[in-house]
């Protein structure tokens, strides 16, 4: 068990900056998800933590010990690779005990510990098989078993579910969550799938261009994204963005959107004050649809209505902006029809249109 401290990590490949001055503290036992689009540096960060990449600068501390220059095998970590990297020329059993063998654990202990984790991952009956005889999901379990049999202080996972089909991914996601609850190893998990991140992480670090944009619990990330990027990256469909104009602030903040004035909770004044132009961020489920004009509802026009099982997705035009709204399955409206959208004022997020940074509620 160990906490992790990443201090000012920097890594470049020639002129490309993969990680730019990245610092994060991960408390003991936490499940931290590194989330971001491809090329954001999340995998490089994980590999640097594993010791598979040499850094240009910065230090890595695991359990208070500086491991920056240590070989991967000496860091007390274990890793699950995206491709699983299960050794194809070894039986499942030999795969699982490979690390124990490298450590010189006595054969008897190797056997007991291998059986323990095999039971935990329900692959006891596969121990004598070769990886070629296993399904993708089974290979994945072997990769996880091989990592946790080491009883690592830190467990690293690089997109472990990305090669599984949708159903299996859902199942293994729950399995990984259960495993983490049982083992409580500090876990760093890389993914580009925001649903995975929301469901697994104690905290999510959203990354972009080698930097952490926001690092917080899933609910904070979802409800109060730090900027436009985070809001648009998380949530399916993502947050809606509309342009608005500040009309006045007397007790509440009044913002005009498409001719309608919304009364919003007041905001803290950032340096330089609230800009006159703002971007309004609102999630699709925080919008109500009305068929007649009601006070503080924004007029819109229906473009498309898509059923997606448990609910429907309404796409509407508000001025020049497009807004997506989740509506109940029984909702009906033909394209072209005029509707009025009521935004939940408590859920509206304001952003500076120039920087994309959120303006905090005061």
């Amino acid at each position: 068990m160990a906490e992790i401290e990443l201090r000012s990590l920097r890594k470049t490949y020639g002129k490309v900056v993969a990680i730019n001055d990245l610092s994060v503290h991960i408390p003991d036992g936490e499940f931290l998800v590194l989330l971001g689009p491809s090329g954001c540096g999340k995998t490089t960060t994980l590999r640097a933590l594993a010791g598979l990449e040499t850094l240009d600068r910065g230090r890595i501390l695991i359990g208070g010990r500086d491991v920056t220059l240590l070989a991967p095998g000496k860091r007390g970590i274990a890793m699950v690779f995206q491709s699983y990297a299960v050794f194809p020329h070894m039986r499942v059993f030999d795969n699982i005990v490979f690390g124990l063998r490298m450590r010189g654990v006595p054969p008897g202990d190797q056997r007991t510990r291998a059986h323990e984790v095999a039971d935990l991952l329900q692959i006891r009956n596969l121990l004598d098989r070769y990886p070629a005889q296993l399904s993708g999901g089974q290979r994945q379990r072997v990769a996880v078993a091989r990592a946790i049999v080491m009883r690592p202080d830190v467990l690293l996972m690089d997109e472990p579910l990305s090669n599984l089909d949708a159903l299996l991914r859902l199942h293994m996601r729950a399995e990984l969550k259960r495993l983490h609850r049982e083992l409580r190893a500090t876990t760093v998990y890389v993914t580009h799938d925001q649903v995975e991140a929301l469901s697994l992480g104690d905290r999510i670090a959203v990354m972009k261009e080698g930097e952490i944009i926001q690092c917080a619990t899933p609910s904070v990330i979802y409800d109060t994204p730090a900027n436009r990027f985070v809001g648009s990256f998380i949530g399916s469909p993502p947050m809606n963005f509309l342009s608005g104009t500040v009309a006045g602030a007397d007790g509440s903040l009044r913002v005009e959107v498409a001719g309608t004035v919304l009364a919003l909770p007041p905001r803290a004044h950032p340096a330089g004050g609230t800009p006159a132009q703002v971007t309004i961020g609102i999630r699709p489920e925080h919008i109500a649809v009305e068929f007649s004009a009601v006070p503080a509802a924004v007029p819109a026009q229906v473009s498309v209505l898509e059923p997606i099982g448990s609910h429907q997705l309404l796409t509407a035009q508000v001025g020049a902006d497009i807004v997506k709204v989740t509506v109940p399955p029984e909702f009906a409206a033909e394209p072209g029809r005029a509707v009025w959208l009521r935004f939940d004022p408590a859920r509206v997020r304001l952003m500076d249109p120039a920087t994309g940074q959120a303006i905090a509620v005061s």
Binding site: A50, A78, G99, R146
Partner: protein, 269 residues
């Protein structure tokens, strides 16, 4: 559709015959009694086969010794070529480093300087280096000739084995060397063996350098060329020699038939 199938099969049949018939004919010739070979009218199929022709060839002065020489040179070539090319292949497959592209290009460019160009200047140098007329000298030139092939093949074998496997081994406590020995090497063995066998064929078949660089310590091809040019060896010696030369090659090509495409396919790039 059936007409197309007919076309495919007849074309395949004609081409198969074109390749196979000469092989069959040299095999028959190698076991045809000597006097039948010089008869007229010449029968296509001898009434009886004999080992006499092959025996004559194998007992011919120097044949046995030069066969041993050929095998020795080929084995030495495999050893040298792997010792030199395998580490470079591993580096090319696993590391990005400055000069990597130029090295790869240089190795491919060496294909442009084949035996003819190398042998004559090296013969002069070998006299100075006391390597002239030695099997080591021949093996060194064969090594030079096989390095482009071995490097390209072995590199592609290593590239074919995911680096993540080695990384996984390293996260599990292996050193880089251990990871290579326990994970990559066992998986690479079949491909490496194929490359080795290929090198053997290359050395076994090489004529020009062996002829130029030896005098008394002939390899088999050098001895045959010498006997034909210098001594005007009789026809039955030539036929038996031709057959004897192709037998190991046939067996070996059969052994590595699975790798033929990869071997040559990858040498393309």
């Amino acid at each position: 559709m059936t007409l197309r199938r007919l076309g495919i099969y007849s074309a395949a049949l004609v081409i198969s015959a074109w390749v196979a018939v000469p092989l069959l004919l040299i095999s028959i010739a190698a076991f045809t009694p000597r006097d039948v070979l010089y008869q007229w009218p010449r029968p296509l199929w001898p009434e009886q086969f004999t080992l006499e022709t092959m025996r004559f060839f194998l007992r011919f002065t120097g044949v046995w010794q030069s066969t041993l020489n050929s095998v020795f040179v080929a084995v030495l070539t495999i050893g040298l070529a792997f010792a030199i090319a395998a580490p470079a292949s591993y580096a090319l497959a696993r590391f990005r480093f400055r000069g990597r592209d130029s090295l790869q290009l240089a190795i491919l460019a060496t294909k442009m300087f084949p035996a003819t160009v190398l042998s004559i200047p090296l013969a002069v140098a070998f006299i100075r280096w006391h390597l002239y007329d030695t099997l080591l000298g021949v093996a060194l030139v064969h090594t030079a000739l096989s390095i482009p092939f071995v490097t390209v093949i072995v590199t592609s074998v290593f590239v074919g084995i995911s680096y993540e496997l080695e990384e996984a081994a390293m996260t599990l406590g292996s050193s880089r060397a251990q990871a290579f020995l326990r994970v990559t090497l066992p998986m690479a063995l079949p491909g490496l063996a194929a490359a080795g066998i290929f090198t053997f064929v290359l050395s076994w078949n090489e004529v020009f350098a062996a002829t130029i660089l030896t005098l008394n310590h002939r390899t088999l091809p050098a001895l045959i060329v010498d006997s034909v040019i210098g001594a005007g060896a009789p026809l039955h010696f030539r036929f038996a020699g031709g057959f004897f030369m192709i037998v190991p090659a046939l067996i070996i090509i059969f052994l590595i038939r699975r790798y033929l495409l990869t071997l040559w396919g990858v040498t393309v790039r």
